[in-house]
Amino acid sequence: MNGKLYWKQQLPSLLIHLLCMAGMATFLWVIGNHVDVIILILVAWIVILAVCLVISYYERSRQMKRLLMLAERLEERYLLSEVMEKPRRADDQVYYQLLKMAGKSMLEQIGEVRRERAEYKEYVEQWIHEIKTPITAMKLLCENHRFELTNELLVELEKTNRFTEQALYYARSEHTEKDYSVREIRLFDVVHQAIAENKYLLLQHKVRLELQETEDTVYSDEKWVCFILNQLIVNAIKYRTARPMLEIYVEHRENKNVLCVHDNGMGIEASDLPRIFEKGFTGKNGRKAAQNATGIGLYLCKRLCDKLDIGISADSVGNGDGTTIRLSFRMNDFIQRV
């Protein structure tokens, strides 16, 4: 509470007191009282007034401080009116009532928005599942009836599927509730799956694949990791150089298995490197090489990794020496012992 302002606001009542004192002193003097008596009465008045004012100031100030503290400790501050005690003063009660009304309408709004978002998410997920039926049908049609444009069409279908998956995982990554299940997965099974999902794209660009296959397993969600790998493979192709090559191998660190995806593409400039996981960041390469860089892919990877507790980092020497993306999976001692 601002002390100066408080005392300023007490000024009118103080003036009235002063006036009353002057009036009473004059009256007492006129009717023939001794000056000592008048002074005694005035001193007593002033002392009582001062004590009253100081006490009420501290009381008020303590009360306000308590409210501020309460608000500070509260995580959702808009719930303050629900937690605070009902004030005793008449004007405070009006403010209390106003606060309650504001809080209530706020809660209603939040509830509405939450429900709408949940509904929208549900709709998006359902839509994605529905769109997969025609994608599957088209894919089967293409693979069963080959003609000269089949492979181009299959590449486009892979792309379509990837974009729908991206929307699905974006919707999933926004919500805190659990949409994944962690179990033991063999890293290279997921790698093979991600390659299969981009088979036609990789074949179209004649990408040379170097896999150093191992039997390492990690504990994570297969579908999410596969989605992340998908994004990395697509990036490697988007920023490729003349003879694209993709190397995938596992590095063993102290209680960590690190899956490395290395390409020989154009690389990332040092100045861009710290920002590539930011939403909407496209960097020099994104603007130069790929017109369709959205700045969503790696951002989404990072978000999913954070949820799954996978470390993700990028390494690039700069121009033309390729990029290495590392996914580090923590090995849990406890799970291993079991």
Binding site: H129, E130, K132, T133, I135, T136, A137, K139, L140, L141, E143, N144, N151, L157, N161, D179, Y180, S181, H192, Q193, I195, A196, E197, K199, L202, L203, K206, R208, L209, L211, K223
Partner: protein, 222 residues
Amino acid sequence: MKQKILIVEDDPVIRSELMVLLEGNGYEVFAVTDFSNVMECVKSFQPHLILLDIKLPQESGFSLSSKIRAFSDVPIVFVTSCNTDMDELNSIMLGGDAFITKPYNTAILLAKIASLLKRAYPVRGNETLSYQGAVLHLDGGKIEYEGRQVDLTKNELKILCYLFRHAGTICARADIVEYLWDHKLYVDDNALSVNINRIREKLSGIGLTDFIKTKHRQGYVL
């Protein structure tokens, strides 16, 4: 005898294309069109394997699966577009043997079907392919001709396997590469030439010369 596969899928295009695909790979296929008596179809067709969609017009795939499990241990593959964890968990709990999400890779689908069938109905003896006296041992990774045999690497075996299966027709290089990729062997065009040359050397070592012929600009033919 051909192995029988039952398709329970409500999308007509996917249903008919799956039939084409599976029949093309040597299976006998029956597709359910009347979803009110799937059980009757299962009982009368006696399939070796069932491809089951989860979202069906009348009864969900889950409940069908648990009904089938009441009288049969036939392998069931759930094929669905809902790739949520709950569905995957449910499918395992209710007796599904595999779970494949749409849009599926046909190579993965076929591989899964083949491995499930192999596990459920083990074939005795080695699987072999033969053409003009040459016998390819798929399990042993060998090729035999007039009593002499030679070992093959994984790549060489798969290439020969593709050529044997399409014996007499021209196999485009791109198709062979795609087939190899489907079997997790990521061989590029140059490496394919190297492999073919090595196979030719090995074949002439056991007396098979000019077994693989090159068709200029088209591919190879046995």
